[in-house]
Structures are given as C-alpha cells and as structure tokens.
C-alpha cells in the first residue's frame, strides 16, 4: 500500500519536473568526442579548449536562438572502440542534438555507421578523405584532407623541378592514410617514389631508415606523421648530413614541432592552414580578420595556436550558423543547413559545401610554408 503511494508520488514529481523542463528554454546540447589523452593528445587538447572557448563566447552573447549551448565531452584516448561507445553514450544517454568531433580519422571512421543509423549530424575534425568519400548523408568534415596535403607537396616539388622522392611514414592512422594518398597521387604529378620506409610512432631513432634513403637517388624527402616522430626524423636527417629538401605534412603545423626539432627544422616545408601565418597574409585576404581574432583570443588563454584548434573553431561555428538558420535543433533541418554552408570564412579556408562535397575546401586554403629562423614563412 505504502509502496503504491510512494510510486504515485514519484510519478507525480517526475511529471512536474518534466513539465518544468519543457517550459524553460532547454539548452542546445552539442556532443564531442576528442583524443585528449594518448598519442594524439596534442591534437585533441587544443580542439577541446577551442570548443569550450567558443561556446562560452556564444553563451555570453545570449546563445543561439535564445537557447544556451551545453557541451558534452568524452575523451577517447585515440581508441576507436572508445570513440564508438562514447558516441552511443552521446546519442542515447546525453541525447545531444549534434556532434562535433573525432580528432583522428580512426575515431571518426569508427562512428560513422552509428551516426548514420541514429540520423544525427556529425562534423568531423579529422583528415582522412574516406570520411566524406563516398558522401554520407549525415557526416561532414572541416579539416583539410591528406590528399590535399599530398597534392600541395607535389605541386611545390614540380615547381622546383624535382621528381624523385623518398617517402617515410609512421605506423599511425594519419601516417598510413597520408602514405596511401602520396602513392596514389605520385603518378598524376609525374613523381617517382624511390623509397617507401616506415617507423613506429614511438620510436626514438630513425637513422636506419634514413640511411637507406641516403643510399637512393632521391631528390627530396616526404615525411607524413604527427607528434614527436617527425621531429626525430628531421633531426636524424640533419645528423646523417642528408642535404635534400624535406617536406613534412600539415600534421606538424604547430609550434611544438619547431621546438622539438630545433635548428634541424630550418628549411623544412609543409602545407598548412593559413592560421599559423595569419600575420603574413595580405590585408585583402578575407580570412585574415577571422584568423587574427581566433588567434588572439586563444593565445590570451592557452598559449600558441595550432591549426587543430582551428578545425574545432570551424566545426563549431559551422554548426552554430546552421542551427541559427534552421531555427531550432531539428536534426534533419540542421543537416540540410550544414550542407548549405557557403562562403563561410573559417580558419582552414572558405567553406562551400554542396550535396556532393561535405567539406567544401579547395587547395587555395592550404599554404606552403617554410620554417625560417624558427618561424613559419609563406613560400608561394
């Protein structure tokens, strides 16, 4: 008897709470799953800080459509299985309206089936071209693809009249998928690969692989990777006295790389988003004010920017614009509006998404930069 009464009271309370919840403006819930620990931590860390910073700003300005934004975050540690479970948690338990995230390609690729099944928009921050190719209805991405990086490097090599390249990559997802794109694009640009070496991302010495490269007739070395390994490769190249142009990928476009590699980094070229060279852009460049504003705010709080934090900025801003245009958080409407993103000026470039292109960036957004005197210089 008592139990029945208790249950009735409980139900009544629950109903009241429910009614109250609906009458007040519910916050917009944006979910994210990033690699804040693990080998790719230095990618996910600025991404999370950026998301928190941008959302704080938006809320200070009154939120979106009069509703506050709430960020729900889980750290995947770079493990694709964790990523999938956390995305399920975001969708089922936290019931988020939209997801921005997936620091690494592996994490992003792992969650795509679940996102498609749940019909919720996902804006990935990772690089692999497979995320948006083939086009999936609910999946978008804002980071430059590894294919664009490879193309940019080959363009630069062609300009310098070099066509024999040695490739050295790590054993991570970013490295391997970069390697694949280099192998695929090389014939298109008339490049011959004279070496294709690999190392472990936690290795501490790559002189062995580089010694093999030294014995070939390579005219340039391309290294695809991120974290400390590319810095070690760069130092080892110097140590072995190999005097060839060295190309790194956009994976090392952060101050950390220059700090780690030290003087050995001098002369290294890499394709990077304009963010790292914002000050050097001509004043006519439409991106310049956006870049400088983000850079100023981020550096005031957290220290040097990296292009990865920039991707998070692009992702959350594209989402915010789309939510504004959709006038609410209806998932299908948000998705349609994200797809209609055009002329959005982000840190990675100007986004023009279409039904066939769920990224909407072109090669223009990528700058070839060279490291000179410990700083980035545009070389175009």
């Amino acid at each position: 008897m008592l139990i029945q009464r208790l249950i009735r009271i409980f139900i009544a309370i629950m109903l009241l709470a429910g009614v109250n919840g609906v009458s007040a403006a519910e916050p917009i819930k944006i979910g994210t799953f990033l690699t804040v620990t693990g080998p790719a931590a230095f990618l996910g860390d600025p991404e999370l800080k950026t998301l928190q910073m941008v959302i704080e700003d938006l809320n200070a300005k009154g939120g979106l459509n009069g509703r506050k934004i709430e960020l729900v975050h889980y750290d995947t540690g770079g493990n694709a299985r964790e990523a999938l479970n956390f995305v399920k948690r975001l969708i089922q338990k936290d019931q988020v309206d939209l997801i921005v995230g997936g620091t690494t390609s592996g994490d992003s690729l792992a969650v795509i089936p679940e996102v498609e099944k749940a019909r919720i928009p996902l804006i990935s921050l990772a690089g692999a071209v497979e995320i948006i190719e083939p086009v999936r209805k609910w999946v978008f991405k804002v980071a430059h693809t590894d294919r664009m990086a490879a193309a940019k490097i080959f363009e630069d090599l062609r300009k310098r009249g070099l066509n024999k390249v040695a490739l050295i990559t790590g054993d991570g997802g970013f490295d391997k998928s970069g390697r694949e794109q280099v192998l695929k694009l090389a014939p298109e640009y008339g490049m011959t690969l004279v070496a294709d070496e690999s190392y472990g991302n936690k290795d501490t010495d790559m002189t062995t692989q580089l010694t093999k490269i030294r014995a070939t007739d390579a005219q340039a070395i391309i290294n695809f990777g991120f974290g400390q390994a590319p810095a070690i490769v760069t130092k080892n190249i110097k140590q072995l006295g190999i005097n060839l142009p060295v190309y790194q990928s956009h994976g090392v476009a952060s101050k950390t790389f220059i700090d780690l590699a030290g003087e050995a980094a001098e002369g290294v070229r890499l394709p990077a988003a304009a963010l790292v060279v914002a000050e050097q852009l001509p004043d006519t460049d439409p991106q310049k004010p956006v870049l400088l504003a983000y850079k100023k705010e981020y550096e005031a709080k957290h220290g040097p920017v990296s292009t990865f934090g920039g991707h998070a900025y692009d992702g959350i801003m594209i989402a915010a614009e789309a939510i504004k245009r959709a006038g609410g958080t209806d998932k299908a409407k948000m998705r349609d509006e994200i797809e209609k993103t055009s002329g959005f000026i982000g840190t990675a470039g100007v986004f023009n998404m279409t039904q066939k292109d769920h990224m909407g960036l072109n090669l223009y957004a990528f700058k070839m930069v060279e490291i000179r005197d410990g700083a980035w210089k545009i070389v175009e």
């Binding site: 804040v36 620990t37 693990g38 080998p39 931590a41 230095f42 860390d45 054993d171 070496e197 690999s198 190392y199 472990g200 936690k202 501490t204 010495d205 002189t207 062995t208 692989q209 010694t211 093999k212 014995a215 974290g227 400390q228 810095a231 070690i232 130092k235 110097k238 140590q239 072995l240 006295g241 950390t256 700090d259 780690l260 030290g262 003087e263 050995a264």
Partner: protein, 291 residues
C-alpha cells in the same frame, strides 16, 4: 653497403644502451624482491620530465639533472613504502598489477603537471654530428653510451664488491635467511626501489635530448626495458644490459635489412626464439623446482 651496416649498428647501439639502462633498473628490483616493476618506464619518464621542468624554471642543466634524479629516486622509495610494502606476501601477479596501477597513476600525475605535449631537453654538448668511419652520430649518443658504461660498471661494483650490494642480493636468494643473518630486508627493498628509480631517471635524462619526453614516454621504454631484462635472463644485471644492446641492434638491423614496418615484430620473433631454446634467457640462472 658495409658503411650502411655500420650506421645501422651505431643507431642500434645508441637505442640499445637506453634499453639496457631501463633493463638494469628492472633487474635491480627483481634482484631484491622477485618483483617485476612495471612502473620502471615511468621512472625514466619522470626523470626526464622533471629535469626539463626544472631547466625551464631556470636551474642550470647539471643541477636540474641531479635534482631530477634525486626526486625520482624519492618517488621510487615512496612507491615501495606506500604500495609494495603494505602488500607484503601477495602473489607475483598481484604485485604486477600494483606496479601497473602505479604506472597509470604516475602517468596521470605527469600529464597534470606538464601537459600532454612532447618536450625537448637541450643536448648536453651541441648538435654537431660526429663522423666515425663513415657513420655519423650525435654527441648526445656518446653521452648515452658513456653513461651506460659508467652506470653498468658502478652497479656491478656495488652488487659484487660492497657489503650493501651483497646484502641486497642476499634478499632475493632467500629473504628469511637474509633476515636471520641480520640484514634488514625492508630497508634493502626500499634501497632497491630508490636506486632503480634513480637509475631510470638518469637514463631518461641522458636520452631525452635524442628521444624527447612526454607523459606517455614510459610505456614504450618500460616495455623495451622489460624485454631486455628477460632476454638477458632476469635477475642478472649484466644480462639485462646485454639484452638491451641486442634488442637495439636487432631492431636497427631488422629495419635496415629486412623491413622497417615489421622491425618490432622481427625483434620479438627473435626474443621468442631465444626463449624457446633458452627458457631462462641468455644468461639466466637455471632453477630446479622443489616440491
């Protein structure tokens, strides 16, 4: 070709001596307590990270290195006192899990203190490569090699020549008997942890200009050090050193001559082969089971 192989060997020996130093730390603790300390790699990381932090705080390099070594040794001592000693008498697997827990804990502390980026330590004497019969190596590699030789020599002398060292060895052979002849086993255990933590810290500091360091750096170094200690025959400090060098050279030769992608697999296939033919490592003691 010969010149190439020489360069591979130089690379292998440099990396191998880092493994050797880490392996030596494993052997020391195992010698005193029959415990394999899976937090050994974290000591290496702690030494390097503390030195980098102290250097950043304005201390001169030498002082930062000494302070970092002492601080890490203290951490080792604390670990023994707070986590290993209370679990006295627990099974081997239980102590392994405790040390794994300690490793995760230390990693967590490091990530909070110093963030998640890799950090560099400046080379002790410049970055100008030295040419050695066609192979080039960094001055820092010489520091690593010299440090290894010196530390291995000191450890050996300590264990074989000093009373304290002999007492330490006695604890592993038979703790009860050691206690009976008046050795304070508890103090010996703390000493062993402190020593091997300090040893790990020095290894980390010597290697950091080449390898950099981050809160996660201990995982890989711990793994390789453990392999070195096992291949050499665990409990034999000189075996651990030989094992480390062997492993480093194998990796370099595997990467250079066979396949750089599969080099870790090649090294471990070799380790398995060694164990299949020498079940107690290359220089391990053969122990008969008592019923």
């Amino acid at each position: 070709m010969l010149e190439q192989i020489f360069q591979f060997l130089v690379a292998g020996i440099t990396v191998g001596s880092i493994y050797a130093l880490v392996g030596l730390g494993f052997a020391l603790i195992y010698n005193a307590s029959d415990v394999v300390n899976f937090a050994q790699g974290e000591f290496v990381m702690l030494g390097a990270m503390t030195a980098i932090a102290l250097l950043g705080a304005g201390l001169p390099l030498a002082l930062a290195a000494i302070a970092a070594t002492l601080l890490t040794a203290l951490t080792g001592l604390l670990l023994e006192r707070c986590a290993i000693e209370p679990a006295h008498g627990a099974s081997v697997v239980t102590t392994i899990i405790i040390t794994i827990g300690a490793a995760i804990f230390l990693r967590g502390v490091a990530s909070l203190l110093w963030g998640k980026n890799s950090l560099p330590l400046p080379a002790f004497s410049g970055n100008e490569p030295i040419n050695l019969g066609g192979a080039t190596l960094l001055p820092q590699s010489l520091w690593v090699l010299g440090g290894t030789v010196l530390l291995v020599g000191l450890t050996r002398a300590f264990l074989n020549r000093t009373l304290l060292g002999k007492a330490l060895l006695a604890c592993s052979f038979n703790p009860a008997a050691a206690q009976l002849v008046g050795i304070n086993v508890k103090v010996m255990l703390r000493l062993a942890y402190g020593l091997s933590a300090g040893l790990g810290a020095i290894a980390g500091i010597l290697a950091a200009p080449i390898t950099f360091s981050s809160y996660e750096a201990g995982i890989m170094l711990g793994l390789k050090g453990f392999s070195a200690a096992i291949v050499g025959g665990i409990g034999n400090p000189m075996g651990a050193v030989a094992g480390g060098l062997l492993l480093g050279i194998l990796e370099a030769l595997g990467a250079g001559l066979i396949s750089s992608g599969y080099k870790d697999a090649i090294a471990f296939v070799f380790v398995l082969m060694v164990l299949f033919f020498e079940p107690t490592g290359l220089f391990g003691h053969k122990v008969a089971e008592r019923v």
